[in-house]
């Protein structure tokens, strides 16, 4: 990871004298504690989504009553909302680059843009769920409804938490409490945000695009 060391905040924390994580104590791996922790969390979260996706794939195409994926999906619509989410990863990168340059104005713009794009995605998901419900697909309708709503619902919850996180950072930034020395805070949020995006790409591919073999 080619991330530059941020200058220490003032008052300078005595390096390595803290048991905790502030400043950037030298670590054995060279990765800061927080960054290592978020990577571990994301690795753990992979199995969370992996288990739900496995359940979806296991049950895909089983005989059942009620609406099938082909009857409810609108691939063009979901493609657009997926694209929006993908673009939010780009704005997230721009936000991180901005704070690393010390450009706090652009940081605020890109953070807000990312949160907005995420909100558009969530809006799209709410619209999609409502449409599906009108077409007669509920949580309890059939296996498709069960596995689809629970999987995408938990993904939506992850995105929502991400949006709240980004907005919190944006709020700090507007109060000038997010300084270039805090670049790592943005980077951590970014790692989470990119992860949630990648999970969506996997879901979109496996759940929406690849038709059941039957």
């Amino acid at each position: 990871m080619a991330v530059q060391e941020a200058p220490p905040r003032l008052p300078p924390a005595p390096p390595a004298e803290h048991g905790g994580q502030p400043a950037h104590p030298p670590t054995n791996t060279g990765t800061t504690n927080v960054k290592l922790a978020i990577w571990l969390f994301l690795a753990s979260d992979c199995l969370f989504f992996g288990a739900f996706i496995s359940a979806y794939l296991l049950y895909r195409g089983r005989p059942q009553t009620g609406p099938t994926p082909q009857q409810v999906y609108s691939i063009p619509f979901t493609s657009v909302s997926s694209f929006v989410l993908l673009m939010s990863s780009l704005t997230m990168v721009l936000a991180l680059a901005a704070i690393q340059r010390g450009d706090l104005r652009r940081l605020r713009i890109w953070l807000l843009a990312t949160a907005l794009l995420g909100s558009v995605f969530i809006g799209g998901q709410i619209f999609e769920f409502t449409t599906f419900a009108h077409k007669g697909l509920g949580l309890d309708t059939n296996l498709f409804g069960t596995t689809f709503f629970v999987l995408t619902g938990f993904h939506g919850a992850h995105v929502t938490i991400g949006i709240l996180w980004l907005l919190s950072l944006w709020g700090l930034a507007t109060q000038r409490r997010l300084q270039p020395g805090d670049a790592e805070k943005v980077e951590i949020a970014g790692l989470y945000w990119h992860f949630v995006d990648v999970v969506w790409i996997v879901i979109f591919t496996l759940v929406y695009l690849i038709p059941p073999t039957k």
């Binding site: 924390a13 004298e17 048991g19 504690n33 069960t146």
Partner: protein, 644 residues
Amino acid sequence: MTTATETATPVPVRAPVILRRPTSTTGFWSWFSTVDHKKIGIMYGGTALIFFAIGGIEALLIRLQLAQPNGTVLTASQYNQIFTMHGTTMIFLLGMPLSVAFANYLIPLMIGARDVAFPRLNAFGYWGFVLGGVFLYSSFLLGGAPNGGWFGYTPLTSTPLGLGALPGRGPDFWTVGIVMLGIASTTSAINIIVTVLNMRAPGMTLMRMPVFVWMMLVTFFLTLFAMPIITVAMIMVFFDRNFGTSFFLATKGGDPLLYQNLFWLFGHPEVYILILPGMGIVSEVLPVFSRKPLFGYPVVVFSGIAIGFLGWGVWAHHMFTTGLGPVAVSAFSLSTMLIAIPTGVKIFNWLATVWKGAIKLTTSMLYALGFIAMFTIGGLSGVSLAVVPADTQQHDTYFVVAHFHYVLFGGLVFGLFAGFYYWYPKVFGRMLDERLGKISFWMMLVGFNVTFFPMHLLGIFGMPRRIYTYNNGLGWNTLNLIITCGAFVIALSVLIFFVNLIVSHKRGQIAGNDPWDARTIEWSISSPPPEYNFAEIPEIDSRDDFWHRKYTEDDAGLLVPLPSGGSDTPAATRAAASPGHRIHMPSPSFFPLIAALALPILGYAAVFHSFGWSFALLAVGVLVLVFGVYAWAMEPAAAPEEAH
């Protein structure tokens, strides 16, 4: 990197704090705000021992009920709740948190760190565990305790309440409680992995780490990856029970066995999560009391890692009778036999460690030796269960109950007891009473075998598990009575241990820094250690660094003491030179506790979601969570220096 002028003028932190930041590190309230890994470790240990006592009382009730045929001590409904809670307690509220207790207290001391990587997250994990346990036990008063077994097979547990597969709200409490405990243990896992990977003292390379630290590292990697799977399984069960989904509903095409696959994909690594800490502890204890290095350190470490990997490939051996088909069954039979190999290697390496040693039979050493012997029996009965045709006879009988108690009680609990006797002096500065210790060890060894060995025979005589009653005339009566007697011997032994813990805390012999002539660096500092652990971060030159500062080997490989002071100044001496008052430690905080408080509130809101008032509870829970998390995030890890 540009240095913007904005950085030069830091904005003072306007902490949105309602509660004044606690500063005291002593006194009653300090226990609620502490972020000191040693205090949290003690709290984990104390709480887990309370749950150990509760789970033990449940075990005694089970044994009273089964002492005779057609027992009337408990009703069927009570028995089913109690055996479920016994298993759930011993695994989630004793085994895992007690391992976390040891890890929390010892890992920073053993790798030469001042604290864990995330002190407040550590406190959050502890409070999540306590509140999760309290939440689970509150079910006894709020509509029935969990009664689907600790494994909670669907569709028994996932059938909605109104359809009557199981009486009561038990499975709702169980699923939500396990998710809460899962969140807590995931935070501890992340914390400890980061601590081990990132915060080792200079020179403490991975292959110089004590085996205990290694085994804990593997344990917490397993926790990290196993917990999300059980979380998903619990979410599915909860949704099936409450929101009409059909994950495990056969009549809508769902597959009840999907649950078993998910559960055991978590559940088998979980077995290694429980046993690896025990293996780590005896790998420390045996060399110290044999005055020999661990035989084949790299092999012990790598076989631990191998167990960690292979542990993911054996889950379906819990499902040999479910109709997987002969090919799948054969494959899992082979993988299960494969995992016996690294386990066997460890046993032989431990045996070789004590071989030709200068063995001192302290209570700790007795437990460690008992671990080898008892765990071997559990391992061998495990191999017999891997023989699938035999498993179709022994599965779900008392043979299996015997097997996993030899592994988890003879293994984990004996290991943890070895650890208690070994590290108690470091933690409390006083020795545990050896005479009481030895009495309780021999009672434990005898009681344990009287209790669990006859269970092998009961299984062979055809007694299934999880039955609250049995008929006369099946040849089970005498064995069951013997087992019940044995259980009370164990209980007495544990009681003596508790007395020992309490009495020695006040009256035990003063330990000094290094009462055992030990090998690892936690023994180089005072007992109990100062808040900052090491006045000066030690520099590590070798495996068993502290030992090599005390001893060297002559040409024949015999042990030669070095002159006092050693080749280098030990950390302890250096510690005395600098009293350490300038060391700035993370400050106490109430916010981890507040954030954790949101978990049971949200949990009750979920369990009682069909009642209108649950929305109020939900709102309160979300508010508490948001407040806790934001206040925590805004609060600096350590209060500014001026505050002192």
